[in-house]
């Protein structure tokens, strides 16, 4: 009675789902479907939340995270804060298939990707640069993720330095405002 094959995707990412489905229908490998399906979103910059040119950090750089997990072997490949490489899902697949590790991060993940033949290129676009300029200059770096630092991060941009006398073990944080266009 199983309804196989099947693919389920978060948010409204139809093209990624259809691509994954086409792969499942043709070759049948779930791992391929995940890699190629999520890669579609990287290329199409789904809602600005996936791929290059979205969600710039405080320094205006876009970095990418991706994970792929094989439920047959329990093998994992992942990259975190991948810089200057557009194809994060495929790099994660290379971590899975060409290393005994699970996660590579940052500049060293970029070095790995280059060694595996991926192209190095900027992930910044005019859209992401404009977004950052508005945040930095017009909105005075609001919102941001700093706390217990000075100058007051709820009013001013950095650089910040730590405040020593803080309330330890405070659970109070203002949650990140999640929407269709801003989420992990």
């Amino acid at each position: 009675d199983a309804k196989l094959p099947v693919v389920v995707t978060t948010w409204n990412f139809v093209n990624a789902t259809v691509t994954a489905w086409d792969i499942l229908k043709k070759t049948g490998f779930a791992l391929d479907a995940i890699e190629k399906g999520t890669s579609v979103c990287e290329k199409q910059q789904c809602d600005g939340t996936v791929g290059y040119g979205g969600s710039p950090d405080e320094e205006s750089e876009t970095t990418l995270d991706a994970l792929i997990m094989d439920g047959c072997t329990m093998n994992v490949g992942a990259v975190g804060a991948l810089r200057r490489v557009k194809h994060a899902a495929s790099v994660a697949r290379h971590v899975l298939e060409h290393t005994k590790h699970s996660i590579l991060v940052g500049e060293m993940a970029t070095n790995f990707a280059k060694q595996m033949g991926f192209k190095e290129e900027s992930l910044t676009t005019t859209t992401s640069k404009r977004m950052w300029l508005k945040w930095h200059y017009r909105d005075q770096c609001q919102p941001n993720f700093w706390m217990n630092v000075e100058p007051d991060p709820t009013k001013f941009c950095g650089p910040y330095k730590k405040i020593d006398n803080i309330v330890k073990r405070s659970k109070h944080t203002i949650p990140m405002k999640v929407s269709r266009f801003n989420h992990d």
């Binding site: 791992l31 405080e58 975190g80 919102p143 990140m176």
Partner: protein, 139 residues
């Protein structure tokens, strides 16, 4: 973030994520997406799950792993996703996020928290459907 779970004709389960993370994060920050058990998890014996939302909070609770473990214990995918979301909400009532779960027989479900009046959408395609389906759940 895109989170995706797939089961192929042979019953192999895979899951994954891809994201550019939170806007205006402190450089070096990663969220839940690249963390196994948090952003996604898969086990052929059970199924898979993936999560989306506030990654700084969600990764502390490994919601994808929890959802798969709940399904292993016999919970439906919807109940498993709800349990994973509720575990986070117990500690962070204001957090925003969602979990989707897919059993290895093709049954699926989802749960979300904190998205206000906006329903959480997800896309499904299985062998019984002529076209993909966009499902929406209210938090």
């Amino acid at each position: 973030t895109i989170g995706m779970i797939a089961v192929d004709k042979q019953g192999n389960v895979a899951a994954g994520t891809s994201t550019n993370g939170a806007k205006f994060k402190i450089p070096g920050r990663i969220g839940d997406s690249p963390i196994p058990g948090s952003g996604a998890y898969a086990d052929n014996a059970v199924g898979g799950a993936t999560a989306t939302g506030d990654g700084d909070i969600m990764l502390r609770f490994l919601p994808s792993f929890l959802a798969v473990e709940e399904m292993r214990r016999g919970a439906s995918p919807t109940d498993a996703a709800r349990t994973a979301v509720n575990r986070i909400a117990e500690h962070y009532p204001d957090f925003m996020g969602a979990v989707i779960a897919l059993r290895n027989d093709g049954e699926y479900g989802a749960a979300c928290h904190g998205l206000g009046d906006e329903p959480f959408p997800f896309v499904v395609k299985d062998i019984t459907m002529t076209k993909f389906k966009i499902e929406k759940i209210n938090c």
